[in-house]
């Protein structure tokens, strides 16, 4: 975990010695030629879609080699008309001042993906909330339970086909 604590060039996204979005995207593509598609990059952004099986390895690669230390958010998206779901991971790196957006496509009937909580503790509650709201099961999560809705309820409220009572 390399987070040198100290002065940083103001107004430049890059930390001294940090890597920019493009270099990270290139090295990611070299490491995982198939299964990872980089949709767009910028000085401090990397957007990529990753296959379901590869996610944990890509996350480990980002954490250990690319110094991504903090999971900003884990969110679920329910593409009901196209009968598929998405788990979207936003992972930031303090050292390089770069944020990676990793999108994983999941089938709508069995939405399962590897959990990144063993790598970053910050994703713990975000993943629990995504499970609570969408029903996406995160394999390897220490305690995958409902967090915001009432325990023991069997519905997943943020799915598009969940009729939330009268349309307010």
């Amino acid at each position: 975990m390399r987070t040198e604590v100290g002065k940083v060039e103001q107004r430049q996204g890059l930390a001294a010695g940090g890597k920019s979005g493009e270099t990270i995207a290139k090295s990611m593509l070299e490491k995982f030629p198939n299964g990872v598609k980089v949709t767009s990059t910028a000085a401090n952004r990397v957007n990529a879609t990753v296959d379901r099986g590869l996610l944990y390895k890509v996350a480990e690669f980002l954490k250990n080699e690319m110094d991504f230390e903090h999971v900003t958010s884990v969110s679920g998206v329910d593409w009901y008309p196209e009968n598929r779901m998405q788990a979207v991971f936003h992972i930031t790196s303090y050292a390089n001042r770069v944020t990676a957006e990793i999108i994983v496509d999941l089938p709508r009937d069995s939405p399962e993906v590897d959990s990144v909580t063993p790598l970053w503790g910050g994703a713990n509650w975000n993943e629990r909330e995504t499970y609570d709201m969408f029903g996406i099961i995160f394999k390897g999560h220490p305690r995958l339970e409902r967090i915001l809705t009432a325990p023991g309820s069997d519905y997943f409220p943020y799915r598009k086909d969940f009729a939330g009572g009268r349309r307010v």
Binding site: K7, V8, Q10, V168
Partner: protein
């Protein structure tokens, strides 16, 4: 990085509680010399500046029943309701359910005629849910410029042109979205003409169909239209779309 040495004393506690006692003593003396900060509410009230957002207010004569406030309200608490009004007989005016209203000021901001305004009245307690529903008569408030919310916008292309202040979106035409009709979907039923509150829609004959009857298409008058999308909603064939001002 701007190295500004923050010239503040080093904050080390001296003699357990010397500084806190000194500060509280000074404050106690100050607040006995002049009266303390409390406002004795029912008897003394704070002065309210202009533009304070209390409950929504209504100027009944300026309202044209366009229903923009009904559509824009995020918590859906405004309805148009029939009332008897002086000489005009039965007219429909907005009624606000203050039990749901979150005082966001959108009804006053999007009202094209400044009929819905913001009243600086914040004492809204009632004894039952029905008390909280303000019918148009009770919603009235005197029409002061301080209560209007005017929208001074600018076109996207000259966002960085520092010279102009912007156009008034409520009166000017530069920023108005005007409806336009798709010829093949429109069946010429002139429903939009009947519905339009500011009768900005004229049915114009554009030709004759094979049976010899005239084909009529709506023509939208840009000055009169307040882009209230009534025609959009009531068109049976959804033939009308809003053309945004670029």
């Amino acid at each position: 990085m701007v190295e500004r040495t923050l010239k503040r004393r080093n904050l080390k506690p001296k003699a357990y509680m010397l500084r806190p006692m000194a500060v509280t003593l000074r404050e106690t003396i100050n607040h006995t010399r002049h009266s303390p900060n409390t406002v004795l509410y029912p008897w003394e009230k704070l002065v309210i500046q202009d533009g304070f957002r209390g409950r929504p207010g209504l100027v009944i004569d300026k309202c044209i029943e366009c229903g923009i406030c009904v559509r824009i309200c995020p918590t859906r608490c405004i309805e148009l309701v029939e009332i008897e009004w002086k000489d005009q007989g039965k007219i429909r005016r907005p009624q606000v359910n203050m039990g749901r209203c979150m005082v966001c000021g959108y009804c006053a901001e999007y009202c094209p005629k400044n009929a819905m305004i913001i009243a600086p009245d914040y004492e809204l307690a009632g004894y039952s849910r029905q008390d909280l529903i303000y019918d148009p008569i009770r919603l009235q408030y005197e029409d002061r410029p301080g209560c209007h919310i005017d929208v001074i916008e600018v076109k996207p292309k000259d966002a960085h042109n520092l010279s102009i202040k912007g156009y008034d979106a409520k009166t000017g035409n530069e920023l108005k979205d005007v409806p336009e009709v798709e010829d093949k979907m429109c069946i010429g039923c002139s429903k939009c003409e009947k519905v339009c509150p500011t009768d900005a829609v004229q049915m114009v004959q554009t030709g004759v169909n094979e049976k010899g009857r005239p084909i009529k298409r709506p023509k939208f008058d840009e000055d009169k239209c307040v882009s209230c999308e009534q025609c959009l909603d009531n068109c049976p064939k959804d033939a009308i779309k809003m053309k945004e001002a670029k």
